[in-house]
């Protein structure tokens, strides 16, 4: 795993900023705990005036928790936060905003039915005679817009503008309080290239005015285009803080994924030798030029029975989107899927289920768990949905299936009548796996099945996947943990910036550093 230092690592990192500048925000020894999880463990972070500081890390690394700890959304268990040299605890985002720290979230949370001026000035409206001073409001809004280089009418309705403009309006709004610190949480995820350029121009301008900008993005190229300094988190711990120029892309990816700058983790795969594919094997499913605008660029991929395909790539690289296309969870707008050589329609999950394809979402809570139903009901949900409501699964058969899977997967508590919401994450995941295995799929798409669950359940699930493949199931396995991908896969597909960039057999000479190289550069050759 990672070399977890018990102490905050801020002290160890040499100050590369000029010694005269003092950080405007300094967080030291920050720990945040949620029931059963340590979301942040002794993390240090600092932000200087006039810099764009990128906060990097995979899912669950603690990026948003750190932001929420700073703005007072999440209470911190220990640690200190100093702003401008003063010990500070904000009571919430509004308090932080009032005191110069503004946050702009991924989803623009503005009122699209109000005018641009109203949105910008909301909360600090100029008043006159107890009412609103509309003219002053528009004039003030105008000056903020000009500062952003935005030439739009403040009296126009916000909804009539593009997402990029709305994003910039959100930033204008953040600047109304004369923010010294601007936090941008994935502002670019829904913007196209030109819009990103426009946003970056504004960011540079603000930076040159001395504003400290904390920037979160999953796009490596964007980070390298705009950031001055990078902090990497992993599993709730601080891994590294460094100037951008001294942190090559390859090393950054390695830090994010493996927690060390030079990943030497073993993890050579175990499956290859045993599962050599017969030369005349027919693919179960073929994707030909399959793609979806804004999600995955068209790609080809053959899936064989008895084979585990590992999907590697950073968050937002298109790995989830690819799996969803095979399941019909999202509709492909390009290309075809062939089953046994013949094109098939897979436009809804139902159609995919009918073709014996199953998919577990990475969003276990939002897209998998039906919390108020029992374990038993959750297990038979997929089977029952396929039968339709009018033909209930016979009670004896249902009990038999449920008991068998609870036993086989070691679900704890082994009580079929417990409500699923009362089970731990790992056991919920086992129940969801049972739901899909009960449908006897030929292709199983597993999107981060091991995320957020304890190490025991993780191993059990990975062994299970291995067994299923040996029994002839075709498996697509997505995981942020490259070691897991390497250990399980027969072939590895690497995704980068919404495109499939490599497809390599998992031979013994493929290791984590090699994968990181491909993820970072998008090039297959060493």
């Amino acid at each position: 795993m990672i070399d977890s230092t018990p102490m905050s690592r801020t002290e160890e990192i040499t100050v590369q900023h000029s010694p005269t500048t003092k950080p405007i925000v300094q967080m030291a020894g920050i720990s945040v705990e949620f029931p059963g999880v340590k979301a942040l463990d002794n993390v240090g972070f600092r932000l200087f005036p006039g810099e764009v500081h990128a906060l990097m890390g995979e899912n669950g690394a603690g990026k948003s928790t750190l932001i929420k700890a700073l703005t007072g959304v999440n209470p911190i268990a220990s640690g200190t936060i100093t702003v401008n040299g003063n010990d500070t605890r904000f009571t919430g985002p509004a308090d932080a905003r009032e005191r110069g720290i503004s946050t702009v979230y991924q989803e623009v949370n503005l009122c699209t039915n109000l005018t641009v001026a109203e949105n910008i000035m909301l909360g600090s409206e100029p008043r006159r005679f107890g009412g609103l001073d509309w003219r002053t409001m528009r004039r003030q809004a105008q000056t903020y817009l000009e500062r952003m280089g935005l030439k739009i009418d403040p009296a126009s309705s916000l909804g009539s503008h593009s997402l990029a403009v709305q994003q910039l309006v959100a930033i204008s709004r953040a600047m109304v309080v004369d923010a010294k610190v601007l936090i941008l949480d994935e502002p670019t995820s829904s913007l196209d290239t030109d819009e990103v350029a426009q946003l970056f121009e504004v960011m540079r301008k603000l930076r040159d005015d001395g504003v400290a900008i904390l920037f979160v993005s999953h796009f490596l190229d964007q980070i390298y285009a705009i950031a001055d300094r990078i902090t990497v988190l992993r599993n709730g711990q601080l891994v590294e803080e460094r100037e951008k120029d001294q942190l090559p892309q390859r090393e950054l990816v390695s830090l994010m994924i493996a927690g060390t700058s030079d990943a030497q983790v073993g993890g050579a795969n175990e499956r290859t030798a045993a599962t050599e594919r017969a030369a005349d094997a027919e693919p179960l499913l073929q994707a030909v030029g399959l793609g979806r605008k804004g999600a995955v660029q068209p790609f080809d991929l053959d899936l064989y029975p008895g084979e585990v395909i590992g999907l590697a790539g950073l968050l937002g690289s298109g790995r989830t989107e690819l799996a969803r296309l095979f399941y019909g969870a999202d509709k492909a707008d390009d290309g075809v899927i062939k089953l046994g050589g013949k094109p098939v329609k897979l436009r809804t999950p139902r159609q995919a289920l009918g073709r014996k394809i199953a998919y577990t979402s990475e969003d276990r809570k939002g897209e998998g768990v039906v919390g108020e139903l029992t374990v038993a009901e959750n297990i038979i949900l997929g089977l029952q949905a396929a039968r339709g409501w009018i033909r209930p699964l016979p009670k004896t058969k249902a009990t038999q299936i449920v008991d068998a899977y609870i036993k086989a997967l070691g679900v704890r508590p082994a009580n079929p009548n417990a409500l699923l919401k009362n089970l731990s994450g790992g056991n919920q995941q086992k129940v969801l796996l049972a739901r899909w295995l009960a449908t006897a799929p030929k292709l199983l798409l597993l999107d981060e099945p091991t995320r957020g669950i304890d190490i025991g359940a993780k191993t059990e699930i990975m062994n299970l996947v291995s067994e299923l493949a040996e029994q002839g199931m075709s498996v697509v396995f997505i995981s942020a943990e490259l070691e897991e991908v390497l250990r399980l896969s027969d072939r590895i597909v690497v995704m980068r910036d919404h495109a499939k960039v490599a497809e390599i057999p998992s031979t013994p000479d493929v290791d984590v550093p090699r994968l990181i190289e491909i993820i970072a550069t998008g090039e297959e050759n060493k």
């Binding site: 399941y327 969870a329 999950p349 139902r350 289920l353 998919y359 979402s361 939002g366 897209e367 998998g368 768990v369 039906v370 919390g371 108020e372 139903l373 009901e377 949900l381 997929g382 029952q384 949905a385 396929a386 039968r387 339709g388 409501w389 009018i390 033909r391 209930p392 699964l393 409500l419 919401k421 009362n422 739901r435």
Partner: protein, 340 residues
């Protein structure tokens, strides 16, 4: 014993018993049932009969609410159903015949099926918020009923049709047999087939259900159709009772009573888990309230207030938060296990 009062129907049941008890104290003979001409008579029978239309509507409403929806148009549907049936009878050549009455029932229910399907399409296929989608028919529906009756209160005479409301079979009111029969059938179908579980899955987590292959659109569509159909049936009982098609007042505010009955019965407006038996108790409470008002001699001026107080008391007693405040921490944990 300690477990009984944690059952989620405990407080609604207690409220119902308390109301009946209050009535008995005022008039000891109130709960007596007498036999006259082979028919059963008495306040309990009245409650059963008077609760019939509301029960029909509330059963449909329960299923709609389980899918995270709501149907505000049930009152309008009640009005349309009655208007169509009575206008059909009035314009037929032989108003008194049984054939005409059957025809009226079929035409009215057919139309209500279509109205339910209209709601279903708006909600399930076009993704319009249920409260908005059904508001359309709620406001337009009474206008449609006015058109059908030409703005008149059509009065007709049809002995077979009026049997729907005032007839007796095996000593019991026909209306009650219909409503409680439908209730039993729906309750049975919902729990014996997978319908109940799938509806709850859709209500609890729509996206997880979709990804599990549940045909949520079809299910949602179906419950709105069923709700329309049951409201139509309720409208026929109303019409059979008055034999006058009153487009303005038939089923007025019944949507609110139905929603109230569902809530009293312990089904959350947020959707998911539903409880048809609870809905029935809710319906009985609301109907008994009207009886209690007369028996206890509550002045008509404060009738609504009296009703409101009872309803507030019941919902407060059912509030998990209030119970938790009253109970200890250990009990609170138990509620989450038992009550959810």
């Amino acid at each position: 014993m300690t477990r009984i009062y944690k059952h989620r129907l405990f407080w609604p049941a207690i409220a119902l018993l308390a109301l009946l008890l209050a009535c008995t104290i005022k008039r000891p003979d109130i709960l007596g049932i007498s036999v006259l001409d082979g028919h059963l008579f008495g306040a309990p029978i009245d409650i059963l009969r008077n609760s019939s239309p509301l029960l029909l509507v509330a059963v449909g409403m329960t299923l709609v609410i389980a899918t995270r929806g709501i149907d505000l148009s049930v009152g309008a549907t009640v009005a349309i159903s009655g208007a169509v049936a009575l206008t059909f009878i009035a314009s037929s050549a032989n108003p008194g015949s049984a054939g005409t009455a059957v025809g009226a029932v079929i035409v009215a229910l057919g139309l209500c099926l279509i109205l339910g399907a209209f709601n279903g399409v708006l909600v399930a296929n076009f993704g319009i918020q249920p409260i908005v989608a059904t508001l359309i028919l709620m406001t337009a529906g009474r206008g449609v009923a006015m058109l059908i009756t030409n703005g008149q209160i059509t009065t007709v005479n049809s002995a077979p049709f009026s049997k729907l409301a005032s007839g007796y079979v095996l000593g019991l009111p026909v209306a009650a047999i219909i409503a409680y029969g439908v209730f039993a059938v729906v309750a049975l179908v919902v729990r014996r087939t997978a319908l109940g579980m799938l509806l709850e899955a859709v209500g609890i987590n729509p996206e997880a259900s979709r990804l599990s292959g549940v045909k949520s659109r079809t299910l949602v569509f179906t419950v709105y159709v069923l709700c329309g159909l049951l409201s139509g049936l309720a409208g026929l009982i109303f019409a059979g009772n008055t034999m006058a098609a009153d487009a303005n007042n038939a089923g007025l505010f019944i949507e609110l009573d139905a929603i109230l009955a569902v809530v009293i019965g312990g089904t959350s407006l947020a959707g998911g888990k539903f409880n048809l038996a609870g809905t029935m108790i809710g319906v009985l409470i609301i109907t008994t309230l009207s009886l209690a008002v007369t028996v206890l001699g509550v002045s008509p001026l404060v009738t609504s207030l009296f009703k409101a107080i009872v309803v507030i008391a019941v919902t407060l007693m059912m509030s998990t938060r209030l119970r938790a405040m009253l109970g200890s921490l250990r009990e609170r944990r138990r509620y989450q296990e038992v009550g959810a």
